[in-house]
């Protein structure tokens, strides 16, 4: 009897819990409220404001922005040859970065997950994540210094008669690959670790060689991880402009034009930022068609 009273007393001392226990809808709402406020308040509203600005006018005398509705900004983004060329260039750079990241991440993941000794595996895991600890701008400036005319690359390669290309698109691709590689390597490695070892044995028993196993067994199983990684490498590359500014020479990317216009002509910047959003949406739709988003 005394025990019972104690239990009841304890329950009564938690009024919020007992209130929520009875009202499931309130419970759900209170759990969802913070993330929903975040998503709607920060993500959706700011995206919406951005979209709205793209239709606004700029006073040609003073660069003052005024609300209104005109499609001139979109027309400009879609018809000026320089803008179109920059969009295509940025898209190709982002695709190249993604392809290179996949190309290196898969063999590395297989080696780490299935072949390497535990201490090598840990060492590699640290090596992959280590660059994440350094500042983003620091890494870009480091790449800049490596590839200057009298920089490390040309110095190290001089005995072989090789000279770097100077600041240009290949160096931008290299820098972006360096920046975003961990975002591809880690999910791919985790996915490969989860493949049961006997699948490799089975593949080998049936006469498949290394590459066939990778292509027919490993790759289908890790596609969701590759897609997840590529969403990072692709979208981060699309939006970047500091890599182009510091290691691209005269290379102009989508972000370069947005940065140039953000103070001078915000509506054009807003209209132009729809291009990478459009690319990402297309990319996600293609990824969805392959069915890998459901398995992510």
């Amino acid at each position: 009897m005394t025990q019972m009273t104690q239990v009841v007393a304890k329950k009564q001392s938690k009024p919020i819990s007992s209130y929520l226990l009875r009202r499931t809808k309130v419970r759900l709402l209170s759990i969802l409220a913070p993330p929903m406020t975040w998503i709607v308040g920060v993500y959706i509203v700011s995206l919406f404001l951005l979209l709205i600005t793209a239709f606004w006018n700029v006073d040609p005398f003073t660069s003052l922005v005024s609300p209104g509705f005109n499609l001139e900004n979109f027309k400009m983004v879609l018809t000026v040859p320089a803008y179109i060329a920059t969009s295509i260039r940025t898209l190709l750079i982002a695709l190249a970065v993604t392809a290179i990241c996949i190309f290196f991440a898969v063999p590395l993941g297989i080696y780490m997950a299935k072949i390497a000794k535990p201490w090598v595996r840990n060492l590699l895991a640290v090596a992959i994540t280590l660059p994440l600890w350094a500042g983003y701008l620091v890494k870009i400036i480091a790449m800049r210094l490596v590839f200057t005319e009298e920089g490390f690359f040309n110095w190290a390669m001089a005995p072989f008669g090789i000279r770097g290309p100077g600041f240009s698109i290949p160096i931008v691709i290299l820098t972006l690959t360096y920046l975003w590689f961990p975002y591809m390597a880690l999910p791919v490695y985790t996915a490969i670790r989860q493949i049961p070892p006997n699948l490799f044995d089975a593949s080998s028993d049936m006469g498949a060689k290394g590459f066939t196993t990778i292509y027919r067994v490993v790759f289908p199983l890790i596609t969701p991880a590759v897609i997840a990684g590529s969403v990072f490498t692709f979208s981060l590359s699309l939006g970047d402009y500091l890599a182009a500014r510091f290691t691209g020479g005269a290379t102009q990317m989508i972000g370069s034009i947005i940065a140039q216009n953000i103070n001078l002509n915000p509506p054009v910047a807003a209209a132009y930022s729809m291009i990478p959003i459009f690319f990402i949406v297309i990319y996600l739709m293609v990824a969805r068609r392959t069915g890998s988003l459901e398995r992510m």
């Binding site: 922005v65 040859p81 320089a82 800049r144 200057t148 009298e150 034009i257 140039q260």
Partner: protein
């Protein structure tokens, strides 16, 4: 983001503005009349408000001279460093700042936009005859005879070259513009729409038939010619710079052999083989002045600040710290070091600065005095600039 938008909106509604080439305002020395919002100027000094919010270039507002100012006036100084002229304009339009160290390409935009107020020079005793003649009454901060700015300092956009490669000083800017340049891929240029004026300066000399009289007053055909020249340069350029550190590493690292530079960047690079020259065509330059917000609540602190920073020793300290020619030339005679600084930066050399076109915001009213055509505005320049790099 939202707050900024609202501020821009309120600034817009507060200032209705029209520019017209045929209005009947009093004309300044260059014969240009620009219609600007009618904002009253400060009539008499009153009590200090206790604080001053400044938008400034890096190195313009330092404790070395603000501490004494605060001790003297009780005005607490809150500096906010801006990286570009465009950022300065955006910041001033938020209405949160009292005063700005604007270059000419920002100044005229702010004046025409009604964001800054005309100044009562009688309240600034240090704005005296010692201020370099070439920094007074220029169209970028003096409109219809009314001064809007108090000069701080100036610098030229010079041609920097690596003497080990070029052998001597290039006589012409052609090494950065022409397709047959010996330094293809090793050229740098300033990365901003205002750089179009540099192309115009080159065209003024080499293509007089275009009729360009002022590189900031380009009609549509003249702007198109300048953009064509910039597109041509794009084929031989190695890099555009807006970040000074990037420019220095580029010259020091050997990626760049010739290109736009400032005397202070050459000094920072600290290499004997890097030199600067003013080619035969002349060049552009940045002339900075203090401009006071039209909505400031700290007007007396702002006037006190402009007067204080126009003193020879304070103006000199800012100029030395940033690396430019001080506006107050009385500083030069104050010590041998000061004289050396003034000589390096051509502070007293008006003949030198006569060959420099101070950055000025291009507006539809032609600042060269032409009335029969409409000139291209900064918005046109911005749009055109984006097409240069392709």
């Amino acid at each position: 983001m939202k707050g900024k938008k609202l501020a821009i909106l309120s600034a817009l509604s507060a200032s209705v503005l029209i520019i017209s080439g045929c209005s009947s305002g009093s004309e300044d020395s260059s014969g240009v009349s620009i219609e600007v919002p009618d904002i009253p100027m400060h009539q008499a000094m009153g009590e200090f408000e206790g604080e001053l919010n400044i938008v400034n270039w890096s190195g313009f507002v330092e404790p070395a001279w603000t501490d004494k100012f605060t001790a003297d006036t009780g005005c607490k100084v809150n500096p906010r460093v801006a990286g570009t002229s465009d950022e300065m304009v955006t910041l001033m339009r938020t209405g949160q700042y009292d005063i700005v160290s604007a270059s000419g390409d920002a100044a005229l935009r702010l004046i025409v936009g009604g964001d800054v107020q005309p100044l009562n020079i009688d309240l600034i005793p240090n704005f005296s005859d010692d201020i370099a003649a070439g920094m007074k009454g220029n169209v970028y901060d003096t409109v219809n005879g009314k001064p809007y700015g108090v000069p701080i300092g100036r610098g030229a956009n010079l041609l920097q070259y690596n003497e080990d490669v070029t052998g001597g000083a290039p006589e012409s800017w052609d090494v950065v513009w022409e397709l047959d340049t010996p330094y293809k891929g090793k050229i740098t240029a300033y990365d901003a729409p205002i750089y179009i004026a540099d192309a115009a300066v080159y065209l003024m000399y080499h293509k007089p038939e275009l009729g360009i009289k002022n590189p900031y007053a380009l009609d549509e055909a003249q702007l198109a010619a300048a953009i064509d020249l910039l597109k041509q340069q794009n084929q031989v350029i190695g890099e555009y710079w807006s970040d000074p550190v990037a420019q220095i590493t580029s010259f020091v690292g050997g990626n760049t052999v010739v290109g736009t530079s400032w005397e202070v960047l050459r000094k920072f690079a600290g290499k004997e083989n890097l030199k600067t020259t003013l080619p035969v065509e002349g060049s552009t330059g940045w002339f900075d002045s203090w401009l006071v917000s039209s909505t400031t609540k700290n007007i007396n602190c702002a006037y006190a600040w402009m007067d204080y920073t126009s003193k020879p020793e304070v103006n000199g300290a800012i100029a030395v710290n940033f690396g430019m020619a001080p506006a107050n030339t009385a500083f030069c005679a104050s010590s041998p070091e000061a004289q050396a600084h003034c000589d390096t930066f051509f502070a007293e050399d008006e003949e030198f600065f006569k060959r420099i076109w101070p950055w000025t915001t291009p507006i539809e009213t032609c600042v060269d005095g032409r009335k029969d055509v409409k000139c291209t505005s900064f918005q046109d320049w911005t749009n055109a600039w984006a097409t240069v790099k392709g």
